[in-house]
Amino acid sequence: MTPSLTKAQCTALVVMVISPTALLIVPKTVMGYVAQDAWISLILSACAAFIAAWMLGRFAAEAKSGVPFPKWLNESSVRYLSPVAGLLLAAYYYSVASTSLHEFTTFISVEVLGTTPKIVLKGVAVLVLMYAAAKGIAPIARISFLVLAASGPLFLLSTLLLLNIMNWHKILPIADHAWNRILLGGITPLGWFSEVAIVLLLAPHMLRPKEVTSSAVWGVALVGIELTVTVLQALFVFGPNLVQSMEYSSFELVGLIEVGNFIERVEAFFFAFWMMTAFLKLSLFFYGAIHLLETTLKLPFSRSPLLVAMGMLLWLDTAFSWPHDMNQDLTTNTNTVVLLVFNLALPIALAALYWLAGGTKPSKGGSDA
């Protein structure tokens, strides 16, 4: 493992981990709780996510450059937790890859390829993920940075082109809902924001792991702005009621962009761009699962057999384990709990134990397990 990630690349990876699925699901879910006050919930959620990002970043910054997370944990004061933490996180990353892949293919099936069997779409996507994971994290990070750099101007442009159909009055009355309801609305976005915990995986791949805290906070800030603006756009254009009846309001929003009579239906470009970000997210989680498995279990063989086996498992899992369309409860309530447990509770518990037991100083009784 050769460290190669820069701070900017790490920030881009954090954005790519949170943004693609959150962008599709968050507007509808949050508006389901607090309608036109969704943007307040999002801002509050982003504020909480800043704190979480800072804490997770501080913990991840303890990592050694070039030493995988489980190995680093194994050399620390909480080495007895290393196998459990490594396997739990590997299982979690695999689970996110599986869930996200299903969401991804469902979206494609609903929006553009209704007649193509999902099993084929999933198979092709898994092949892409296997190729990405085989090449390692550096290519994923490099592409993420390019995509992030390109998304800024595109996002700005789409906002400008929608200005003429926005109605500012649709967010009125402001703060119409009770504060506890607004806070509750922020829980689902916090679940997505909590995916910033990916920094635990990224830090050892960084040239300077100490910079991971800054990357985590910047990543959350960028996604927070993106989600808040997207929710506001949806509110201004459709209003809260219409958004709740839409499956993917962000996609519908871009579909409204028109420039004269010659540029219209640009959702194809949005779709293509979004697909790229989704691939990056899936690749990173799939790579994370593979990487954690091979480093935790200290597998004596090369990555290829594990890659093929995991790829097959992912394909079959997503093809046969999920219902035809994932229901709303699964994507919001259940998923949010899982996200918060694995991204916040588990790493924070690990961090607390790590610092209580004396940090990097090995505990009494031996060195390597």
Partner: protein, 544 residues
């Protein structure tokens, strides 16, 4: 063995050329020529003139173009001989500077301490003393005249290389409207001259290799000391030294042997027939490889963006150069994606088209018996056939291809309802866009990728295209060229090197060399160089 240093005395040979020399020795010993012959070549020269002549004749199989001119003594026996291959020497040089002095000398000067006399009095600039049969044969095969004398187990090789050569002409594949009009030739000496004229720096290093057991091809590795990354030079040197094949007939052979990744469609080593492009590459920290017999030099390490830069970008104004460069990138994307997008949208995503356009396309496709994918594949393959025919066909019948291709096939196919007019437009525009890419190997890569994309677009629509693009991107950012990331300075992103990537900024702003240059000596302009402004001009005028 210093023979190559003598062969090209005006090159500054560096201490690192030892490897190349060793390689030359290895190849001249003829690894694949059989044990008896190998032993013959390694043998020392005999003191007997007759034996030496007999050995040479035997080793060359009594070759018809081997000329042996014996010089007789008073007793009628030969005391010296001049050997050369008539086909590759300059007869004028041989007669005037080798034969005439030897004939004019008395027999006494060819006996006794003859070696010293020949060394001191033969009016030839490049004269090499040899004492092995293998070296003698190597020099003979490279156009040298060999002077053998009786009673001495040594010989001299005089540089008389000649034979018919193509003169320096205009480049045929990388033409420019403004800029130098010279191109490399098949002669490594001529090519070195073209480069030496452009870079008059003592830092230009030349290392020589002889590669190819049968062809014994001269290969020169050039770089600028202090500018080219030493690690990259070492890597190239090592890879060149490892090549052990029987023949090298063009730089294309070397390219495939030393490239970082074989299983890729993308070129990771540039080739050019322009000396100015090679000089620019050297000044930007690349190393050049020149192969005798090939008018195409190689430049490495190379990045993806280098294949979109044309020599003319630096000779014309920065504004038009930048505009054209953007056009090239767009053309590359069009070349890869346009047919596949057309297929995907007309097959799977019709709702994405504006209604009038959709109606127009649907009416054109009405009656076409093939799906869009088959239609596009047929048209693209037809174009590739026409293109290949155009290249191979004698020039006088070339225009016929245009007529047959454009009028007969295109128009007739539309009229017969086999393909739609829109498809003809898409395929034609794609083909034209492909020609905009300034390097042929990158445009070839685009042509091949286009077919994959068409199949993906035709089977899985936009999802297939994006999946293909994702794989392509991962592949591109994973590639390296002699340790340098192929997509640099885009990925990894290096802001300071972006001045000559998507656009070319004015020369005074490009103070630093781009990514491939070494850590030291990165600055190529004095600090005083800056973009002149109108007020500067006025001030200068006022001072006067």
């Amino acid at each position: 063995m210093r023979w190559f240093g003598q062969l090209l005395p005006f090159f500054r040979s560096s201490g690192r050329s030892q490897q190349g020399r060793r390689k030359a020795q290895h190849s001249s010993s003829g690894a694949g020529q059989g044990p008896a012959r190998s032993a013959d070549l390694n043998a020392a020269l005999s003191r007997s003139l007759k034996k030496n002549l007999a050995d040479v004749r035997r080793l060359l199989g009594d070759s018809a173009d081997l000329t042996v001119r014996e010089i007789g003594g008073s007793e009628g026996d030969s005391v010296a001989a001049v050997l050369y291959l008539e086909s590759i020497v300059d007869s004028e040089l041989v007669n005037r500077y080798v034969m005439t002095p030897l004939m004019e000398w008395t027999v006494g000067k060819l006996t006794g301490d003859r070696i010293a006399h020949v060394r001191e009095n033969l009016p030839v600039g490049r004269l090499q003393e040899l004492n092995k049969m293998g070296d003698l044969v190597t020099y003979l095969l490279n156009g040298y005249s060999i002077i053998l004398t009786d009673g001495v187990a040594a010989t001299f090789a005089a540089a008389t290389t000649g034979g018919e050569r193509r003169s320096v002409e205009e480049p045929s594949s990388q033409t420019v409207t403004r800029g130098p009009k010279e191109s490399f030739t098949e002669s490594i000496l001529t090519n070195m001259t073209l480069l030496r004229r452009r870079i008059k720096s003592p830092d230009l290093r030349v290392e020589s290799f002889t590669i190819g057991r049968k062809t014994g091809t001269f290969v020169n590795l050039l770089y600028l000391e202090g500018i080219t990354l030493p690690a990259a030079v070492k890597e190239i040197r090592d890879r060149l030294a490892k090549i052990d094949v029987d023949s090298i007939l063009d730089s294309g052979y070397i390219e495939e042997f030393i490239q970082e990744e074989t299983w890729t469609l993308f070129p990771t080593i540039q080739n050019t027939e322009r000396p100015d492009a090679v000089a620019a590459g050297l000044l930007e920290g690349q190393a050049a490889i020149i192969v005798d017999g090939s008018p195409f030099a190689l430049l490495a390490p190379s990045s993806f963006v280098k294949f979109f830069q044309s020599s003319e970008d630096y000779y014309s104004r920065y504004d038009i150069a930048s505009f054209l460069r953007i056009i090239r990138y767009i053309s590359f994307l069009v070349s890869i994606l346009l047919p596949s997008l057309y297929i995907a949208i007309t097959t799977f995503h019709q709702e994405m088209l504006p209604t009038p356009l959709l109606i127009s396309l649907a009416s054109q496709r009405e009656g076409v018996p093939f799906p869009a994918l088959v239609e596009a594949l047929l048209m693209e393959l037809t174009f590739e056939v026409l293109r290949e025919a155009g290249v191979r066909m004698p020039r006088v019948v070339g225009p016929a291809i245009s007529i047959v291709g454009a009028l007969v096939l295109g128009q007739a196919a539309v009229q017969a309802g086999l393909v739609s007019a829109a498809m003809i437009i898409v395929v034609s525009f794609t083909a034209i866009a492909n020609f905009v890419i300034p390097t042929t190997n990158m445009s070839a890569a685009a042509r091949l990728i286009r077919f994959f994309m068409m199949i993906l677009g035709g089977t899985l629509g936009l999802f297939g295209i994006m999946s293909g693009l994702m794989v392509l991107l991962i592949h591109l950012v994973s590639l390296k060229s002699f340790g340098i990331p192929y997509m640099t300075p885009l990925a990894p992103f290096i802001w300071n090197n972006m001045k000559d990537v998507l656009v070319r900024v004015p020369w005074p702003i490009m103070k630093k060399r781009p990514m491939v240059s070494g850590q030291h000596n990165a600055t190529r302009q004095a600090d005083s160089m800056r973009v002149p402004s109108g007020s500067d001009r006025k001030r200068e005028g006022g001072d006067r």
